[in-house]
């Protein structure tokens, strides 16, 4: 594992076929999941808006999963000084921000017909919003430091600080929410999810994960090529 991350040659050889394979898996699973989504019957309470759930919930899962990937890549980059891990952290952040934004946007679209409001200061919503702010801070720091190696290491430190803080933020927001006695917007745990809903949800969750893996690898490969191009440009100039 570490050898792949420290050796760009091996990484490029492996990812050359892993990225398209994961992309194909994501496409097949995504289309299957969407098909199951379309044939799923409307929910007796949520009506047709239940279809939005299958797009929203995997995005919310991925928003956290990507941050954990970002933290792991940052840790490996910081401790083992693996160049691929640095590139991986750099490549993961915009994807994570995108998934988080997707989760917030689809959640808001779903909330309007279901709760009658675009936004509620609920514990889960607020902690996802803070996660989005973490991503924005990471991207802002990355773009503000000119020296790329320094920017990577500074961002890695920030990602690890954020990784420690995310559970605390989540816990504190839940505590705040119970303190304020907010209106309970989520339905009291209804019956277990029927297979007609569970199948598209899980299929789309896998599709999202595969899509993230594929896009991540493509972005890391682009990052490696960009660095090689920089080196070549420097060599040609000097």
């Amino acid at each position: 594992m570490i050898a792949i991350l420290t050796n760009p040659q091996r990484f490029m050889a492996l990812s050359a076929w892993a990225a398209p394979t994961l992309g194909a898996i994501a496409a097949v699973l995504g289309l299957t999941g969407l098909w199951f989504d379309f044939i799923a019957p409307p929910d007796y309470q949520q009506g047709y808006t239940v279809h939005l759930m299958f797009i929203h919930v995997p995005a919310a899962w991925l928003s956290l999963f990507v941050y954990v990937c970002l933290g792991a890549a940052s840790f490996i980059g910081l401790v083992f000084r693996a160049p691929i891990a640095d590139a991986a952290a750099r490549a993961a952040a915009p994807l994570g921000a995108g998934f988080t934004f997707l989760a917030l946007a689809t959640g808001s679209l779903w909330g309007r017909p279901m709760w009658g409001t675009w936004w509620v200061w609920d514990a889960r919503l607020t902690s996802v919003l803070v996660l989005f702010l973490f991503y924005l801070g990471y991207l802002a720091l990355q773009s503000a430091i000119d020296d790329e190696a320094k920017a990577s290491r500074a961002c890695a430190i920030l990602a690890l600080v954020g990784l420690i803080n995310l559970p605390i933020v989540h816990f504190s927001v839940v505590w705040w929410n119970t303190l304020h006695q907010g209106a309970s917007v989520f339905r009291a745990g209804g019956p277990a999810m029927p297979p007609a809903y569970l199948v598209p949800l899980l299929t789309l969750a896998l599709a999202y994960t595969a899509a993230f893996g594929s896009l991540w690898l493509v972005r890391i490969r682009a990052e490696v090529w960009r660095r090689r191009a920089n080196v070549l440009a420097l060599r040609a100039a000097g």
Partner: protein, 221 residues
Amino acid sequence: MTGLRALLGRELALSWGRGGGALLALAFYLAMATLLPLAAGPEPARLAAVAPGSAWLALALASLLSLERLFERDYEDGALDLLALGPAPLEAVAFAKCLAQWITTSAPLALMAPVVATALGAPPDLAPITVVAALAGGLGFSFCGGIGAALSLGSRRGGVLIAVIVLPLFAPPVIFGAGAIEAFGAGLDWKTGMALLGAYSLSAVAVGPFAMAAACRNALS
């Protein structure tokens, strides 16, 4: 230990001598408190409802102000290089700097907090707990903020970048502090919020210096 004391003395002297000490942060805090009634409306009932919370929020923002100069000044004139070469580890240097930041900025702000909250219409009984919460929270603000200040060393836009990095980290202390004050005012259990606030600040004191030292080494390398 004497080195640490000398460092702390240096930071305090620098802060009072050149930076105008806490005056800037206090003026900012007052200005924020002045704008609140202008924005939300001057009716006492409406103001009183949000007074403790907004006083606490303004405190968090005011403690951001002097963070920009926390490492930047020493980084620019080369003093940070000397400190990194010196016998004291950078972790201790970062600790001393943040402690000085707490003494010179957070403590005066904490003494000011009940005045602002009361002027906005919070009941005067809240004054003691507001001071205590502001002192405890200020410790967390200083040490979390120091991480942002150290990370943004050598970047192109200091102040706003620090705010974007640090404000999400301020979410837990803002929640715990405002919650404790509010619960105290309502006669509910305020000790939980205060204990959590103290726990957050102390863990920031424990972890922060390591992150700051790593960030400083990275900027100096």
